[in-house]
Each structure stands twice: as C-alpha cells, then as structure tokens.
C-alpha cells in the first residue's frame, strides 16, 4: 500500500480515538486490523499523530502477540497451543492446516490470504483443540474440520461464515454468534444466582461508600484471580488515597492456561460483572471504569458494548447512576492484544495507558498511583460478580459458603482427562477428590491446580482443598490421566512462560530459557543427577529474584514437580562413568556439518590416543 494511503488510514483511525497517548493500543489494534500490519510507515504516522517517539510505537507493536510489523494475511488462523490442546490433538490439527494452506506455522501464504500461527491458551480448553480465525472462535477441531475450514475460507473469504451453529446461552446472541459452548456444569448459589438487575447497585447506593466497603470486608471476599488479596482492603486503600480522579478496572484478561470461567461469566452474566464494577466505583469514589478484555475474547466485544449501552439507557451507568446525585460513572472496554502478562494488574494498567505490558514497581501500589497516576482498583471478573451478590443478598449469605479464610464459592474451569470439562461453581474448601468426582476425572494421575503458575498435585494429595490456605487457584484445574507424561507437560508449561515473559527482568527473561533447556535435556535422557540439583537452584533463583508475580511463578512447573514427582525425574538421569557430560550430544552436533560435507563422521570417537 502506498504511504499516502497508509497515512490516510492512520489519520482516519486516529480521528476516531483522539490524540491522547493512552489511546495507542486502540490505534495500533485498528491499524493492524485494517492494514494487516503496523509497518514502518504506519509506525511513523501513528507516532506523528500522537506526538510521541516512533520507537515507543514500535515497542508496543513488538510486545503484543496479536500485533506485528510484518505483513500478515487477511485471515489469521491462530491455533491454540497449550497442554490441553496438545492432548486433544493439536499436532494433527496443525498438520492439517499446514497441509491445506501449504505453509508452516508462522508463515503467510504467498497470495497474502492466510497467516498460520500458534498462540497461547485462548480459554477454550473444555472444547479443545480450538483456534481463532481472526476474531472467530472454532472449537473441537479435528484434521477433517481443519481442511473444511480452509476450504470454506477460500470459497467464502469471510471467517464469520464458519459459524454454522451456535453454542448455548448467549453464544447465540445476535451480537455474539459464536460456536463456543459455556459448558456450565454446576451453577452455585453465589455467582450464578440472583436475577434482579440493578438491585445490588440500588442497595449499595442506599448506604455510604464506607458501608459498602464494610460489607465487602464482612464478607471476607478475596481476589478471585488467584492472588487472594482482600477486596475490601484494596478498595479502602483506594478510597483513602489522595486524588480527585480515581479508576476502577475489571481484569478480563484471564490468560492462565486452562482458565475460562471469566469467559462464561462475561457471556452469561455481564450485567452482574458491570454492576460489581459500578459498586466498586461508588465505594472508592471513581467516575471512570475500564474493562480490560483479552484479545482472544474479541468476539464478545460488540455484545458487551451493547450491554453497556443498555445500562446507560437504563440509568445504571452515566450521570447520577440510579438517580444518585453526584455519582457519575461509566465504563469503557479496553482491548488487549495478546499478552498473558497483562493479567498482572500493573502490567494491565500500563497496557491501558498504551505502553508495553511490563509490570510496574511496587510501591507505589495501584491503589495509590495506578492508571494515569490516579488511585486505581483492579478486580477480577469473578470478584466483581461476587461483589454484586454480596450487596444483593448480604455478606452473611456469602460467608455461609466456604471456609473462614476463604469465604464464598469459587468458579473452576476444568479441562483435560475428565468426562465433563467445563465451569463449576463450588464451595471454597472443596477437596480435590470431590472436584474430580464432579467432573468425572477420578482416574487422574496428576492435577494441575491453578494452571502452570501453581501446583501439580498427585493422587496421594487429592485430599487437599481448594482455597487460599491450600491450593489457591484463579480457577484452572487441568486433569491428567495415567497415560500422560508429566515431564512433557512441565516442558510445555515452561515453553508458555518463556513465550510470555515480558523480558523486563533478568531472571524471568533469561532464567526460564535456561531452565527449559536443562529440562528438555533431562527429558531427552541426556541428564545427570547433578542437572536436577542445578535445575532446583536455578528455579529457586528465578522464583526469588524475579520482579513480578509471573516471573516468580514461572519456575513453578519445574519446582513443584521436582518436589512431588521426583521419581519421574530420577528415572531419567544417570551419571556418566567417564566424566563426559551426557548433555552433549555429539551426533546431533555433527549433523549440520555432515549435511554440508555430504558425508558422515569418519572418526572413531575413542580411537584417539
């Protein structure tokens, strides 16, 4: 495209979003969508429009997986490549796509029509293998389906035409029109309960913000993203923080592989999530709210916009919410662009400001200085749904469920080797065994609770409980049957962390790469006992010295399994009798030279005197 055309496109998009620096994400996303790339000319044009350095724009484009400086195809097929998808047949699906398109993963067809990529978990593990075709989600893939998809795309040119049936619930809503299934297997009494729209807000507005915070504290609600910080306390800090302008943000960037419960909440109960955010805003004194929606869930965006629009029309958003004078509040949706790290609240805030999604230092905490330097509360989708219920039914109803330290219920996203994968609302404190009985995963040999960043649990520990005192989880429960290879799973998890590291700090950026290399060597049977000790040491260093939660959690797959599945590792390593390093693979390292020389190695390795 000629550069004047690029300038024109960027100009149009810029006009839509304005010239504020923090709209950069929206602008680059739109440019990517329109032009298939944010190339050098576009970068210059965007930088000129916003009056910032081009290297800042380039930094953002290069950070997010869904943005690219190189030209992508008109249709981008992103295959979800996580452990669960691999178990469900990712490799065959990938091969089928590659065959049908005639390109490998990472390549674009010569006609510029298709780009095939792999991507981290897209939140469809209960219907894996899955993929994104532009914004359209395709699930339960097989190699046959893959070929059909490519044929249809070639014929009809329009990914939305792939949708030939709708999933349950709001997935059939005219603005969603998705094949995604909710698979809501167990609706509990807290999150998936209560119907009266507006009731929670009205009850909240009838009392003072301080009383709202007291109600949340009484409920002992803790953050549902997994970290478990007391929600009331977070709000109180933000309320107490100096500043006229405050923000509340809903973290809808669930990216922990195996987590998809927020997707179901946003599909079925967006009003209850937005109500929770409105109540949070009232409690802390915010007039502006943001929903940070992960790029993978872009198919829900128009629907969510409409829900927001309807709330405005009904007086649940806007000036004087529910007729409460002085309480003005509105919500905008900020799209992400493919970066797991943006689920970390300070990285999320940076992303909202149009920066690279790198976490910030704390202090200052977001409640003191967050979005645009203003006091900011960031809450998980599920947390906000809980807030709505608490205000609606009272804290006592909430506390009736769960344990003292972990009150209420928890949504679990269960996938893997079980008969009923899907979303479950269970009481906090439930044992893992009970969970496995619910989902038909009694044969499990291992369960990853909380996704890759948390813990792998074996059958001897299935009596353990899901709550903040024991197995804390943002919701992911990945079930692995007896035939699964534990270390292969660990390697896939490490691959995820290598891919998703923001690269800001040394241990997470470099350490994870080194740890994965060592692990893969052990898996290949080229490890020595000392390698396991080295892995422990390296993992511990990464855990201790990394800058943010992601980095600190990144060695967990190795660290946790080296503790609880040690015999699996021990069986893979052995010492070398001669003191040769078993990690060095002579044959493999000669392969390239043999190819170039067109002959094999002539030398007898041990023949040298």
């Amino acid at each position: 495209m000629a550069s004047e055309d690029i300038n024109r496109v960027v100009g149009e998009i810029g006009l839509r979003h304005g010239r504020e620096r923090w709209r950069l994400m929206d602008i680059v996303r739109d440019v990517q969508e329109r032009l298939g790339a944010v190339g050098p000319e576009a970068v210059d044009a965007i930088a000129g429009w916003l009056g910032i350095a081009r290297v800042e724009v380039e930094g953002v484009v290069g950070f997010y997986s869904f943005l690219s400086s190189g030209q992508r195809g008109r249709v981008v097929i992103r295959l979800c490549d996580d452990v669960i998808d691999r178990m469900a047949g990712y490799d065959a699906v990938r091969a089928a796509f590659e065959g049908a398109l005639g390109v490998k993963v990472g390549e674009t067809t010569p006609d510029g029509e298709f780009t095939l990529e792999r991507t981290a978990c897209i939140g469809m593990c209960d219907q894996a293998p899955a993929a994104l075709v532009n914004d359209v989600v395709v699930t339960n893939l097989s190699s046959d389906k893959a070929r059909v998809i490519v044929r249809m795309l070639r014929d009809q040119k329009d990914p939305s035409k792939l949708v030939h049936r709708f999933g349950d619930g709001n997935n059939s809503h005219p603005l969603v029109r998705s094949m995604v299934e909710n698979n809501l297997r167990k609706a509990g009494p807290i999150v998936f309960s209560g119907q009266t729209r507006g009731e929670a807000i009205r009850k909240a507005l009838a009392i003072s913000p301080a009383e709202v915070i007291r109600a949340i504290k009484t409920s002992r609600l803790r953050g549902r993203g997994g970290a478990g910080f007391p929600t009331g306390m977070k709000w109180e800090f933000a309320r107490a923080a100096a500043g006229d302008r405050k923000f509340v943000i809903c973290n809808a960037d669930e990216g922990e592989p195996g987590t998809f419960k927020d997707r179901v909440l946003l599909t079925e109960l967006p009003d209850r999530v937005f109500a929770g955010l409105t109540i949070a805003a009232y409690a802390v004194g915010a007039a502006e709210g943001i929903v940070y929606l992960r790029a993978e869930y872009a198919y829900l965006r128009r629907f969510l916009e409409q829900v927001l629009e309807k709330r405005r029309a009904d007086g649940l958003l806007g000036r004087s919410v529910c007729g409460k004078p002085g309480f003005d509040f509105d919500i905008r949706i900020q799209m992400g662009a493919g970066a797991y790290i943006c689920g970390e609240e300070t990285a999320l805030i940076n992303s909202c400001e149009g920066l690279r999604g790198e976490p910030r230092n704390r202090p200052p905490f977001p409640a003191q200085r967050g979005y645009l330097g203003c006091p900011t509360v960031v809450n998980n989708v599920e947390t906000l749904a809980c807030v709505t219920r608490i205000l609606e039914a009272g804290p006592a109803t909430f506390c009736e469920r769960g344990t003292h330290q972990s009150s209420g219920t928890k949504l679990l996203s269960i996938s893997g080797d079980c008969t009923l994968p899907g979303v479950y609302e269970v009481d906090m404190g439930i044992t893992l065994r009970e969970v496995l009985e619910l989902c038909g995963g009694e044969d499990a040999a291992a369960v990853q609770v909380g996704g890759p960043s948390r813990e792998m649990v074996g059958p001897a520990e299935f009596h353990r409980t899901i709550d903040y005192d024991d197995l804390a989880t943002g919701g992911a429960v990945l079930v692995f049957g007896p035939d699964r290879n534990i270390v292969e799973i660990v390697s896939a998890f490490m691959e995820f962390f290598v891919h998703e590291s923001c690269g800001f700090c040394t241990p997470c950026r470099v350490g994870t790469v080194l740890l994965k290399e060592k692990l893969d060597r052990v898996i290949a049977g080229r490890g020595e006992p000392k390698d396991l000790e080295d892995m422990l040491e390296l993992a511990e260093t990464i855990k201790q010295t990394s800058r943010c939660g992601l980095g600190q959690a990144s060695p967990n797959p190795v660290l946790m399994t080296l503790r609880s599945f040690r015999p699996v590792y021990d069986a893979l390593v052995k010492p070398d009798p001669h003191g040769y390093r078993r990690g060095f693979d002579l044959q493999a390292s000669l392969r390239e030279a043999e190819r170039v020389a067109g002959r094999g190695s002539q030398q007898h390795q041990e023949g040298v005197p």
Partner: protein, 244 residues
Amino acid sequence: MSDRFTITVDGREIPAAPGQTILAAAQASGIYIPRLCHMDGIEPVGACRVCTVRANGRVVAACTQPATASMVVQSQTDELVSWRRQLVEMLFVEGNHFCMFCEKSGSCELQGLAYRLGIAAPRYESIWPRREVDASHPDIILDRNRCILCGRCERTSRDLDGKHVFGFVGRGIHKRLAVNARARLADTGADVTDLAIGACPVGAILRKNRAYRTPVGDRPFDREPIGAPVETRAELTINGGPAS
C-alpha cells in the same frame, strides 16, 4: 516530611531518609550493593535484579525499594551472593560477550561485577543470539551483542537528554534495544555528547575512536573492584564524619 531514621544493612546501622531507596541509603554510608541497571541520576526500575537484598526477610530490589524506619537489610549473605552470581552469569550467556576484544573491557560493569563476585566462567550454556550491530552513526557505535537490556540509555536519553533516542522492541528473550528511527542510529537525533551514550554499563554503546586509550593494567577494574570507590568514600566518612 518526617524525620530521618536508621536502618541496618548487614548489621551496620546507617541513616536513611523517607523516600530514599535501600541502595541509595547504603551507598551514602559507604555500603556498596551491586547493581547494573541503576546509576545515579536516573529513575531506578529494578530490571537486572542484581541488587536483590532481603529487607525484613522479604526479597526486594534495593534500587527500587524505599527504606523504612528500623528496616533490617541483608545484602552479603551466601544466599544473596549466590543469586547475584547467577544473575550476572545469565546476562553473560544471554548476549555475545567477547571481553578479549571489547573496548569496554576493564571498565565494563558486567565484567567488573563478575570479577568482584569471583566468577571464573558462566555455569550456563551460552544462548548465542543473533543481534545487530549498528555502525551507521559517525561518532557512536551500537553493538547489540553486548547489550544487557538494562535500559539505562533509554531512561537517560528520555529523562536527561530529553530525546528518546532509545527504546525496546520485542518481548521476553527476544527483547532488543531499538533506536528512534526506521533502522539506523544515524537517523536518530543521537549525538556523541548525549548523556545516554555514556550511560551504557557495557560495551553496547561506545563513542568511536576512543578505544584502548587507557593501557591494560590502568583501567578502573584492573586496579580495584567495582564498587570500591563507594566503599573507600565510606571509610573517609567514618573516620572523619559524625556517627549515625
């Protein structure tokens, strides 16, 4: 602002002020906490993690963590020194470092820290990444092979030079130093007198035509370990100055 208070670092009680970081307080009292991504005069960010210490038992970066009254800081424990060694070794294997022909050798902070920490060689296997060299600028050379992604040039250019010559692209292990032009440093506003050019702790950004002016043996880290000036200054203060 409230009054000054004291903290202890490795058992030594030292004064600190509200808002002062652990690293700055320690440095003011002649205690050197190793660091790479931080230098005096720019905003600390905690990227390299080499300054990791324990403060009241918690693991924190000394360059970003504010000191608080009566804080107990440990810096020279076996555990922390071991972590620092590993971090420095990670930085070595992440890039392509050839000290034997690097102009910065002898005054390179990465090398200096490795010497100070007694590292004979990195324990990890080198990654040998492909990285670009940019010699386009008449007075400055940019060799990304040696870049440790500390961001000192970026912050110095932005905050002290007011220019924004440098930035970062990519993510994770693919993160790279970039310049504010389509490709070449020569097309940016970089000038050899920019403070950012002197901010590089390693040999990634160098002024041209200055190599090897100091003979081997006389270079800063030939004579004394990195951090020694901080510690020497302290002895002077202790002898002559008032105790905390």
